[in-house]
Symmetry: C2
Subunit: 482 residues, 2 copies
Amino acid sequence: MQMVIPHWLTKQADISPDQIALQLSDGSTLTFQQLKERSQDYAKKLAGWGVAKGTHVAVLSSNQPTMVIAIHALSYLQAVVVLLNSRLTGDELTYQLKDAEVSFLIYTETLAELAGKLPVSKALSLTAVECLQPQAIDIATEINLDKPFTMMYTSGTTGFPKGVVHTYGNHWWSAIGSALNLGLQSEDKWLAALPLFHVSGLSILIRSVIYGMPVYLLEKFDKKRVHQAIMTKGITMVSVVTLMLQQLLGELGEKTYPASLRCMLLGGGPAPKPLLEQAKEKGVPVFQSFGMTETASQIVTLNANDALKKIGSAGKALFPAQVKINAPDEDGVGEIYVKGPMVTSGYYRNQAATEKALIAGWLATGDLGYLDKEGYLYVIDRRSDLIISGGENVYPSEIESTLLRFPGIKEAGVTGVEDTKWGEVPIAFIVTDDGTYNQAELQAFLKRHLAAYKCPKQIYEVARLPRNASNKLVRRELKKLL
Amino acid sequence: MQMVIPHWLTKQADISPDQIALQLSDGSTLTFQQLKERSQDYAKKLAGWGVAKGTHVAVLSSNQPTMVIAIHALSYLQAVVVLLNSRLTGDELTYQLKDAEVSFLIYTETLAELAGKLPVSKALSLTAVECLQPQAIDIATEINLDKPFTMMYTSGTTGFPKGVVHTYGNHWWSAIGSALNLGLQSEDKWLAALPLFHVSGLSILIRSVIYGMPVYLLEKFDKKRVHQAIMTKGITMVSVVTLMLQQLLGELGEKTYPASLRCMLLGGGPAPKPLLEQAKEKGVPVFQSFGMTETASQIVTLNANDALKKIGSAGKALFPAQVKINAPDEDGVGEIYVKGPMVTSGYYRNQAATEKALIAGWLATGDLGYLDKEGYLYVIDRRSDLIISGGENVYPSEIESTLLRFPGIKEAGVTGVEDTKWGEVPIAFIVTDDGTYNQAELQAFLKRHLAAYKCPKQIYEVARLPRNASNKLVRRELKKLL
């Protein structure tokens, strides 16, 4: 079977030239025809700069139309887009850029300072690219679904960031799986306030070009703006994480959303049941879901019919996907395994991590959960020890690794505690050589090496850390030390 | 990328157990859960008979639930389904059965006489299979999209029937391409009156299990029954050929269809413009389309937005597909080439025909057409010489080959003429050795070797046939001999 389809943006521009592709909060819009033309022009300018088929190009930007154009432009060149999380430090991004073998960097002006710290000699701002001389080149007319399109870094439990490679096919199947679950209606419009450098945000763009659906694009999540958009802009779908849902329900107060809002897709970790019940009372159509970077966004989603009767469940695997519990205990709890054509084929240049994660065609998610009698998935722990802070994944092992690099720290254990603002925040427990260490220097050291949301909110010195028989740190026991 | 998905019927039964899968005109229904259970039971009985993975099993039946169950059962066994056209003669079917290496035959009771003429020793009726002893076997839980699922014979222009192999993936992509064009709505219900042994009928079943959509199944096309169903059964989609559309418009008279009917998918050859205009006047949502067995049903379809402004056009290639005109003449007319993951990878055990049809990833359709300035396809000739009689493809070359087998006939040329009832019927021109031949014997001979709808309605004796410089028969000149 040929895994070749026409280029999706060109195709959509051909089918629906005048349909709105992007709508911004200032009222401006881009149709699919305009988005195609601007993306192809942008591709020619990138080509003039030296970007070619297979080049790894990093993009460091907040959500904005030029970022969308740059991403499509890179697909027209068959380059690989490495999406950078703008909340990371220069050190963290440097690691990713080297690991991903990036040779070009495009950044948004407001992140110029961060971009300046990065070891990529060919770096230009999104708008500077527009001033380049275009080069007459052959724009890709087709997409081979087996070819890589994007890369995003995820730390996982090892603490070493790994580059998740998404083929065009992974994104395609994710979009199709979502459509088979949610349906495809001509009036659909998806609000994107999640960062486009995360797969939860990027996947909205891909659905847009495949469905011919407008995206209402916000630079970032702002509860008042999102609320206003849902109330007045004909939004039918919106992707949120728990913290956002909480804030939106606060904004909503005693009002109700327009009936046209048919899906609030909730990802980013298990949601507290009281919050879901509150949403239910207010008639908010929350679709809980489970997914990760490796699955190119949601892979298990609770559908509309079951949303109310299965509150707390992430639902069933999307049509082309499967979910199972590996080695369940007597209560049926075990590691969640998933499978499907939206699942990544592996981590960039990291055979060991790939082999550890992909087992006989299944992705071992590292998350714990169980299936009820009717086969609905319940996620117990978002990865055994993962902390979700304001929708961002915080990996204890990464913070521990950083702590251990500081002089005088012998052992370190990190866990999350509840936080009214961020949902969860990390706290650390350390064992020192002799009970003395420079606290101010440690704070500065952490700030230099970790994004702000990863810096432990409290650091406790303890005599020893909880460990199991094989001397492995038992993170879930850490809180007992408080 | 893994081309493995869960078994589509099992998956749909898991997601929507109580949703109706099949609805019959007698009011009875089968839910997806019931359809799955009956299909799996049927699979176990077939296994008890000896059907196994990879076995080629022919199905000879009119549209009925047990046929649907048998088809799904065979997919659970990973057997290959060879769908037989019940309108063919024993001779014609025998050729197909041998070519397809069929070892088992399942037939419906009303076709027992025809089935009895066929050289397959293991043959049972659909209901006889239900009385077999089941065998405990492992039912397939997954579908590998690259594996063959069905085979259907098409004669093409060579006159030798060729077995078009459809993988699961061909059917999958066809269903997805259709959904991206027509949308997916929870109230959808598709009426199937076209034979399930044609891909136009079978593709409705596949869409049903992938979308979770009920099929309203009729044993055959009957204008009154179809009309009644559309008027009263909540039908939203129906597949028709030109002749059916004509008859339905007659039934409709001055009435209008319910607003819930959102698509009348028209295939099976170009439709006369007056008919399309009549449909437009009556507000019937006709979607013209272009496709063939090799493309697993429609591959080019006019969408709802363009239906009225592009009357006469077959539209644009479905989202995952492409269309182009090969070697266009000065008017832009040339052979229609199509490409996409729904296109067959080739003909069974026929490398020569496969290489002739599939050229650098494109399928040469043999049909002539052009694209207008906006890229809409207009089909001029449904294959250069193909005759469409009552929705059935009639290949002149096949009739010519048969005529030439009759003693005394030296040359033969067949073409179609308009017919008020069937749209078109074949007529033949022959050159004989000495001007004498036994007309009654010829009629009997043709009747024995050709389906009734293929037998020429008139046979004219002529002195010579129109031929081109290379002495090739020019069929389009035949009518001038009248």
